[in-house]
């Protein structure tokens, strides 16, 4: 074998010009393949790790209220953060994502922008230091200027503002109310791509109250991991978190009063669905009145025992009070008795049932504090009773989705339900940005097919060259066969010659690609078009990977070996006597 290898390598240098030309052709094909793969990989890496990850984090937990995607509010932020930390491993940070689209008025120019709430930490400081072109990080944290913000250069130009100018913004709060504010431009950053130019950074603590978030609430929670670019790990963590977020029954422990008489009671919400009505018909006995209609607001059902102790009958008003969790304030709501009922599940406990819309209106706005001392009057739902499917949960947990399409379908389906309560979704950036993965795959396939066509043309040259070589070396083959070389060895010798040539060409092509990538990266491309999303800092971005280069080399070697097999086999089958008699 060692002899065959040495012969093959020696033969490469015998026809230098021919070998060089063929090698250049194969090397060129390899260079194009490496360039194309690196560029497509660079695009998806850029979009994923420099754009999408900042928009969604690696993993995102969101709660959408009233089946509206943009109505996102995690009412108990600390509880959710604790749940995430207890059940997800490898967390680098958990970030509050609060942002909103606004209309901005600058100096005689207006434009749309996205206000993004940020918290100053080491990473943010490093980022700002690297991209601020006017102003400093300390300007952004100054307390003597009104609502300091940071703009990208493109947005500053669009609004015709400079450092220390004022920008007025108009936005809608969580509840759809008009809000306006004044911001002072504390600094201007250089724009790297189209996405960045939309964002205006404002302190999270300034943005949240403007939109209507209270200190214990937030938009969504983004989790970033130490291990980047590992979809399987992140998806596994998301699945684990999902199983821990199954909701319990939502309830309020408070007091119900009429006049001077007050009794402890548990308030629950119930679904408006036909299924829920069926269960209630089986398990509740309505003694007076009727089930409140879905559109009726402020109507409640009360257990007979509670009604008796408060001397309530159908049509009477009563007040329900409870203490809220965060402000420790007493909340009071007035309802009207729509029906009196009994249910075995509640035994002698005092229970008030509200339509889900009425229930969530108070429950979400003022999350209840746990009852100081759950007494014998309080019913505690345990999820096991026959009526449990009827009761309003803390949230509805949306199923995990594997792709962007599935996620979109899920959101549309949620939107159609018009359910008044909160819906919780756990998602990773790979699902939401699966279109980027598809784009990368598509680009890879396109470049692969293009290079295959190129190689088809090159391999015609390989076959032709090999046939010429065999023709010229027929006597040599005859000589080798005459002195005892076997057919397989002759065949292998020719094949290995081609394979070695391809291998050296591939290595040269890869090196040429690296040089070209280095040169291309030096070119500055100053564009504001959609193409800018493919650039990093106005330069082309290539990301070659060892795995793709090795795969490409292996693939090229395979097809050159396959291509050279048939002529080599023909050469090997020449009879020694005939070969020796051959004259050109």
């Amino acid at each position: 074998m060692k002899l065959i290898v040495m012969l093959s390598i020696r033969n490469l240098f015998r026809q230098k010009r021919r070998s060089l030309l063929l090698g250049i052709a194969v090397g060129f094909g390899m260079m194009i393949l490496v360039l194309a793969n690196s560029f497509s990989h660079g695009i998806s890496d850029n979009l994923f790790n420099r754009v999408v990850v900042y928009m969604t984090g690696h993993l995102e937990v969101s709660i959408m209220e009233k089946s509206r995607f943009y109505n996102r509010n995690i009412r108990d932020k600390d509880r959710m953060i604790k749940t995430i930390r207890d059940n997800v491993k490898g967390i680098k940070e958990i970030v509050e994502n609060v942002s909103i689209f606004t209309r901005c008025i600058g100096n005689g120019k207006n434009d749309n922008a996205a206000l993004v709430g940020v918290e100053m930490n080491k990473e943010m400081e490093e980022y700002l230091k690297g991209c601020l072109v006017e102003g400093t990080v300390s300007d952004f944290v100054r307390k003597d200027i009104e609502n300091p913000v940071l703009l990208y250069a493109d947005k500053a130009k669009a609004l015709n503002v400079k450092r220390m100018d004022v920008v007025k913004v108009r936005l809608l709060t969580l509840t759809g109310q008009q809000q306006s504010a004044r911001f002072t431009v504390a600094g201007i950053m250089k724009t790297n791509n189209l996405f960045e130019s939309m964002a205006i950074f404002v302190h999270l603590k300034d943005l949240k109250p403007l939109i209507g978030y209270r200190p214990w609430e937030t938009g969504t929670l983004q989790v970033n991991f130490e291990r980047l670019n590992d979809p399987r790990y992140i998806t596994t963590q998301a699945d684990a978190l999902f199983t821990k977020l199954k909701p319990r029954t939502a309830f309020i422990h408070g007091s119900v009063s009429r006049g001077k008489i007050a009794k402890n009671a548990t308030v629950l919400g119930f679904f408006n669905t036909d299924e829920a009505k069926k269960i209630m018909a089986q398990r509740l006995r309505i003694v007076q009145g009727a089930l409140p209609l879905p559109k009726s607001k402020g109507n409640a059902m009360v257990t007979e025992s509670l009604a008796r102790s408060l001397r309530l009958k159908v049509g009477d008003p009563f007040t329900m009070k409870y203490r809220n969790k965060f402000e420790k304030k007493e909340i009071a709501n007035t309802y009207t008795v729509a029906a009196l009922f009994n249910a075995d599940e509640f035994a002698s406990k005092n229970v008030v049932l509200l339509q889900e819309e009425s229930f969530y209106k108070t429950y979400l706005e003022d999350l209840p504090a746990p009852a100081a001392a759950p007494g014998k009057d309080f019913f505690v739902p345990n999820g096991k009773s026959g009526l449990s499917p009827v009761f309003s949960p803390e949230w509805k947990l949306l199923e995990r989705s594997a792709t962007g399409d599935e996620w979109l379908k899920k959101i549309h389906a949620m939107n159609k339900t018009r359910w008044k309560g909160p819906s919780l979704d756990v998602g990773t950036m790979y699902e939401k940005a699966s279109d980027i993965l598809k784009m990368e795959s598509a680009l890879k396939i396109i470049s692969f097919i293009a290079v295959l066509i190129l190689f088809f043309i090159i391999l015609i040259g390989v076959v032709n060259t090999l046939r010429m070589t065999i023709h010229e070396r027929t006597r040599e083959i005859g000589t080798m066969r005459a002195i005892g070389m076997q057919m397989n060895d002759v065949r292998n010798c020719f094949m290995m010659e081609t394979v070695f040539l391809s291998f050296f060409s591939c290595v040269a092509g890869t090196l040429a690609a690296c040089v070209l990538m280095g040169v291309a990266k030096l070119i500055t491309i100053d564009t504001r078009s959609f193409f800018s999303i493919f650039l990093v800092d106005k330069h082309l971005y290539f990301l070659p990977t060892f795995s793709s280069i090795f795969f490409n080399i292996f693939f090229i070697l395979l097809i050159t070996a396959a291509t050279s097999y048939f002529p080599a086999r023909r050469a090997a089958r020449l009879s020694a006597a005939e070969a020796l008699r051959h004259f050109e």
Partner: protein, 256 residues
């Protein structure tokens, strides 16, 4: 002496009679305003919206608007310009859909989303009483603040209302209401932070079955200077509307 007595008497009469000439409580005015506009009937009307946005020029939208007050349903079909013709909006119960003629699809939208890219929102077309949404602003002493003024030679009451609920677009609105018939001539709407966002004028009204409908609305954007929207209504009919009109199928049919 006699003159002094006369003066004192006159003064006394004026003081005693002054409550008769004082402005009515704002809450009463609000109830009357709701009453003069509450049309418990079906209505169909042609609406022309002229939207003037800075740097974007003037866009004119024509549409047909059908409404059933009893069930609080409405349907809007755009008839011009050509690019938007056939698009529409339908509200039935809690559902609000936008229909796109080019894709023939319905999409759920929310009450605070814009209609045809204008400043009008779905919530603006809902039938909600002023008394349910707002309450009078009070001064430091807890009294309603109401003054009498003149607006373009017309005597008006001026008062400010504060939102009672949080799902209204403007949390604070100042009204100029005609003294004789309690029709709104002008409003100024403020954001949560107290910034003046919009001034609206209602210079023309028409009377239908004893109730009033503003047939011309002028909305001036006070935040983004230069933006203005004018809404003109015509062809008002109170003919009873077939319930089939307030269905997706009818909206699709109309858009063809």
């Amino acid at each position: 002496m006699k003159r002094k007595q006369t003066a004192i008497t006159l003064l006394l009469i004026l003081c005693l009679a002054s409550p008769l000439f004082a402005a009515p409580p704002v809450a009463e005015i609000m109830k009357t305003m709701d009453n003069v506009m509450e049309l418990e009937a079906d209505i169909s009307v042609k609406a022309v919206i002229t939207d003037n946005k800075v740097n974007q020029g003037i866009k004119i939208f024509e549409s047909l608007y059908f409404r059933k007050d009893k069930t609080d349903e409405f349907l809007i079909i755009i008839t011009a310009p050509e690019s938007d013709k056939g698009n529409g909006y339908l509200r039935v119960e809690d559902n609000f859909w936008m229909y796109r003629q080019n894709t023939r699809t319905f999409q759920h939208i929310n009450r605070d989303e814009s209609i045809m890219g204008t400043d009008a929102k779905e919530g603006d077309f809902e039938k909600r009483k002023l008394c349910e949404l707002y309450k009078p602003q009070l001064d430091a002493q807890g009294h309603e603040v109401i003054t009498e003024e003149t607006l373009g030679k017309r005597p008006v009451y001026k008062f400010t209302l504060i939102a009672k609920v949080n799902d209204v677009t403007y949390p604070k609105v100042t009204y100029w209401v005609q003294k004789d018939n309690f029709l709104t001539l002008k409003t100024q709407s403020y954001s949560l932070s107290g910034t003046l966002m919009q001034t609206a004028y209602f210079p023309q009204w028409t009377q239908v079955q004893g109730k009033y409908i503003p047939i011309q609305h002028i909305y001036i954007d006070e935040f983004e200077k230069g933006n203005k929207t004018i809404v003109e209504l015509s062809g008002i009919s109170l003919k009873k509307l077939d319930p089939k009109i307030f269905t997706k199928a009818y909206l699709e049919f109309l858009s063809k």
